[in-house]
């Protein structure tokens, strides 16, 4: 029933330990929110789940669909159903967005996806090249809609996005996580990192966690946790009474 299980994961970059005995479980059909201050290791966590090789795994493991993927290559993980919207994706010169969609999924209806994200005008632009901060986020959603992963990781999909587009992105996340279906029928899951939580007005999230110093210090209902952070800061969450 768990789609993703992370057990006692410790990760470092260079000499710096970023994740410390990190634990998280996400069941099928659930979408979780990750809150936490800058530099606390949120992006690192997502990158390690995606399999970006520049991190050192000091201990623990990642299990996806019952399989230990801790040392699996990135493309294998993607084919197993993991997808990610990057916080700051690179530009690829000479590769049109339209063509990338076809490469990701030859069966995808590229124009329909672009239309859904109000992004048709970017079909023939090089991927992310010269895109504004908010446009980059829509480009990421377009690619994920083509990829249709079973587990979607969204690293600040709302930062730099204007009010109208935040709604579009929220709706796309709901589509990716099957929020249009009844809870018992959902099989896809997600995790989203957000600082301000505004996007949560447009998408459904089931659970939230606060990360501090490389591990989760508090978990609970997304709305309540956001309130708690707004009221007493991240430190106020340490040892919170929210049921973990």
């Amino acid at each position: 029933m768990w789609l993703l299980e992370i057990e006692d994961l410790s990760v470092s970059i260079g000499s710096k330990q970023v994740l410390k005995n990190f634990n998280l479980r996400i069941s099928r059909g659930e979408t979780h929110v990750l809150f936490g201050p800058n530099g606390t290791g949120k992006t690192t966590l997502l990158n390690v789940i995606a399999g970006i090789p520049r991190y050192v795994i000091d201990g623990g493991r990642i299990v996806f669909k019952g399989e230990d993927i801790t040392h699996m290559s990135m493309d294998e993980r993607a084919r197993l159903g993991i997808g990610m919207a990057f916080q700051r994706p690179p530009a690829i010169r000479g590769l049109r967005l339209r063509d990338l969609i076809k490469i990701i999924n030859p069966k995808a209806d590229a124009m329909a996806i672009l239309k859904k994200m109000d992004f048709e005008a970017f079909a023939d632009r090089d991927v992310n090249r010269g895109f504004s901060g908010g446009e980059v986020k829509r480009s990421e959603m377009v690619q994920l809609l083509a990829q249709q992963p079973d587990f979607v990781m969204l690293d600040e999909p709302d930062s730099g996005v204007d009010l109208e587009n935040i709604k579009l992105i929220g709706e796309a996340i709901n589509t990716l996580t099957q929020k249009d279906q009844r809870p018992s029928q959902r099989t896809k899951s997600g995790v989203i990192i957000t600082h301000f939580g505004h996007i949560l007005d447009y998408m459904k999230a089931d659970r939230a966690h606060v990360m501090l110093g490389g591990s989760i210090v508090c978990s609970g209902n997304p709305g309540e946790i956001l309130e708690q952070i707004k009221k007493s800061g991240y430190e106020g969450c340490v040892g919170c009474t929210c049921p973990v």
């Binding site: 994706p89 490469i103 990701i104 990829q147």
Partner: protein, 405 residues
């Protein structure tokens, strides 16, 4: 220059080594080849030639304003389909037009090196293309230089004249079939772009692993004239050395050079040399090199001689193997005040970040590399008709362009 004067010079330069590139033993090649059958229409060409031309982006039976094909030493077709463009084989053109003596060997010296000397000593072959005054067409002249016999030293001498106010597009594919073990191609080209004429010249090379190539090109551009010169080499070659020289001789003349190279082997020494000799002239040279083997020397030289001239050089290389070398030599020579000249050169590898990004979408490392390589080689070429642009894109977007083998 008088004919005997040319021959004299050529004789004296017979052993003169070229400034750049490896030295070719001319004696080891034959210059006599079996004459080929001359055809009336491009459709009547042997199918191997049509196919070879197609592989270098020259669809001989597609829409064009004319065609020229030389097989070995025989021009087999020189035919115009548009009244504004004249296309002839060089020997006939020299016979017909006395005025050609004012153009013949005027931009390339017969005694520049042993290769020009070799061409000067040979009977004239190659094409003469003339866009007549004020005549414009977006349909390209399609030409193919086909080296079909082993051990042959193929020699051509081309002249292009774009008369005042004309517009001319030429695509030339130079190719050898797989059965040719060994060969040499020496080509002299002289392009005269007259007042306000607009010319694009695209050359696609596809040679064999034992073929050596020594093009020698001189170009002059008069007031208001423009040239877009594109060179594409994606297939193996033993050695190639070329350094076309363009002189911007009239006010406002413009030249742009685009070079796209995917090297797997050999010694490839290519570049462009532009003299900005008149006010308000500008030149740009962009080269993109992917090297998975062999040695690529990418040269670029711009010389600014008058105030207000603008020049930009860009040499970017992706070196994807320990077995390769990219040696980038951008040179700017400023000889006046108020110039605006710049260059940008980089040799590097594929960015890890881009690779990981594509892999996170499910592409394998090889697929991602190939997508990035193709994107890198997709140079934006200005001044070309859309159809031609698309054909060039098709060539540079072939599936077989990969990372290290």
């Amino acid at each position: 220059m008088h004919v005997s004067g040319i021959e004299d010079k050529a004789r004296k330069a017979r052993d003169k080594k070229a400034l750049y590139g490896t030295d070719v033993d001319l004696e080891s090649y034959e210059s006599e080849a079996k004459p080929q059958v001359i055809v009336a229409n491009a459709e009547d060409l042997p199918s191997v030639v049509k196919k070879a031309a197609m592989d270098v982006g020259v669809k001989l039976d597609g829409e064009s304003s004319g065609s020229f094909v030389q097989m070995d030493q025989t021009p087999v077709i020189a035919k115009s389909l548009y009244e504004g463009v004249e296309i002839m084989d060089m020997a006939s053109a020299l016979e017909k037009y006395d005025f050609l003596q004012d153009y013949w060997w005027k931009l390339v010296a017969p005694d520049a090196d042993k290769y020009t000397a070799e061409v000067a000593a040979a009977p004239p072959a190659g094409y003469f293309i003339r866009a007549k005054k004020g005549m414009k067409t977006v349909f390209p002249v399609k030409s193919c230089l086909y080296l079909g016999s082993s051990n042959l030293n193929q020699r051509v001498h081309n002249v292009i004249i774009a008369e005042e106010g004309s517009e001319l597009h030429v695509i030339t594919g130079c190719t050898t079939p797989a059965h040719v073990q060994r060969g040499l191609h020496v080509g002299v080209s002289e392009f005269f772009i007259q007042k306000n004429a607009k010319v694009s010249f695209t050359m696609v090379h596809s040679w064999g692993k034992e073929v050596e190539v020594r093009p020698r090109t001189g170009i002059t551009i008069a007031e208001g004239g423009s040239l877009s010169n594109n060179y594409i080499l994606l297939k193996p070659v033993k050695t190639i050395q070329t350094f076309p020289t363009a002189t911007l001789a009239g006010r406002g003349a413009v030249a742009s050079f685009n070079t796209v190279i995917y090297a797997t082997m050999g010694n490839i020494d290519v570049g462009s040399n532009v003299n900005l000799n008149a006010p308000e002239t500008s030149a740009e040279s962009i080269s993109r090199v992917v090297c998975v083997g062999g040695e690529v020397i990418a040269r670029g030289r711009m010389t600014g001689r008058v105030p207000g001239a603008r020049a930009h050089l860009e040499c970017v290389g992706l070196l994807l193997s320990d077995k390769g070398r990219i040696y980038s030599i951008p040179e700017l020579d400023g000889q006046s005040r108020d110039l605006d000249m710049s260059h940008e050169a980089a040799v590097g590898r594929i960015s890890e970040e881009e690779l990981e990004y594509l892999m996170s979408r499910g592409l394998s490392s090889e697929e991602a590399t190939s997508v990035i390589v193709r994107g890198f080689l997709d140079v934006e070429i200005k001044g070309l008709p859309d159809d031609l642009k698309q054909e060039i894109k098709n060539i540079t977007q072939r599936e077989d362009l990969k990372g290290a083998p």
